[in-house]
């Protein structure tokens, strides 16, 4: 069996650490996730942080805003590392699901994360599910 994927949550301020703490509450400590913040970083520094966090392993990077420095840093890193997938718009649902699918390949895991993350975004209550009840 190949090495389980590492997941890197790359986000502004303290968001990555907070998301991973939430994952741990739900799925336990064996999550394989590492937090990286972009605080004080230009793109070169973000790439250096990713190098350290991933350490040559197959991985998926979960970045926050699609048009932000985290996403750009992740894209630049992945361009040189074909065994690393990148997903933007990270949310808790996709991270929790990822924890249980770390045996997938990086590209497959990234595709799955996008589907899971999108499926978790929906209106509920008066404007959405259950509105007619």
């Amino acid at each position: 069996m190949s090495e389980p994927l590492t997941g890197v949550v790359l986000a502004h301020a303290g968001l990555a650490g907070a998301l991973i703490a939430a994952v741990e509450e739900i799925a336990g400590a064996d999550h394989g996730l590492v937090a990286v913040s972009n605080i004080g970083c230009d793109r070169a520094a973000i790439v250096a942080h990713l190098e350290a966090a991933i350490a040559g392993r197959p991985a998926v990077v979960f970045a926050d805003m699609p048009g932000g420095s985290c996403a750009f840093g992740a894209a630049a890193y992945a361009r040189e590392h074909p065994d690393v997938g990148v997903v933007t718009g990270v949310n808790l649902a996709m991270l929790v699901d990822f924890v249980f699918h770390r045996s997938l390949g990086p590209a497959e895991a990234a595709t799955r994360a996008v589907a899971t993350g999108r499926a978790a975004v929906m209106p509920i209550g008066r404007t959405g599910a259950g509105a007619a009840r």
Binding site: D42, M65, G67, G68, S69, F72, A76
Partner: protein
Amino acid sequence: MSVELFRIDDRLIHGQVVVGWGQPLGVGFIVLVDDEVRASDWEQELYRMGVPPSVAVVFASVAEATAQLPAWQADGRKGIVLTGDIDGMTALCAGVDGAIRAVNLGGIHFREGRREKLRYVYLTDEEAAKLRALAGAGVEITAQDVPTGRRVPLAELLG
């Protein structure tokens, strides 16, 4: 003039620029002045991802920006002109002979040899001297990461 902000930011196009400044200013275009990005289709495609379709993005070398600045300043839309470093903005200021009156320091992050001036501005002594020279040429230089942040004058920044 329709260029509302000349900004030095080593992250170039990112959330602070597009949302933080772009929304309150109501910008219609962003000019990214960087020779390396200008030469890379991949980099340009990446940065376009960060900008909504309602905002035009122009990629220019320093030489192209020097030539085009009068047209951007006459543009009916509001715009932001970005460089990734002090040298780029200094070259642009020199090339347009007084047309740039104010420069915003938005993000110059830590690298070896730089010292912290603000949470988002780190400078070497050489970079500080370049900013002093730019100010001496009549350009008002302030640091401000987002519009709601405090504008820090260069004199205070350099102490």
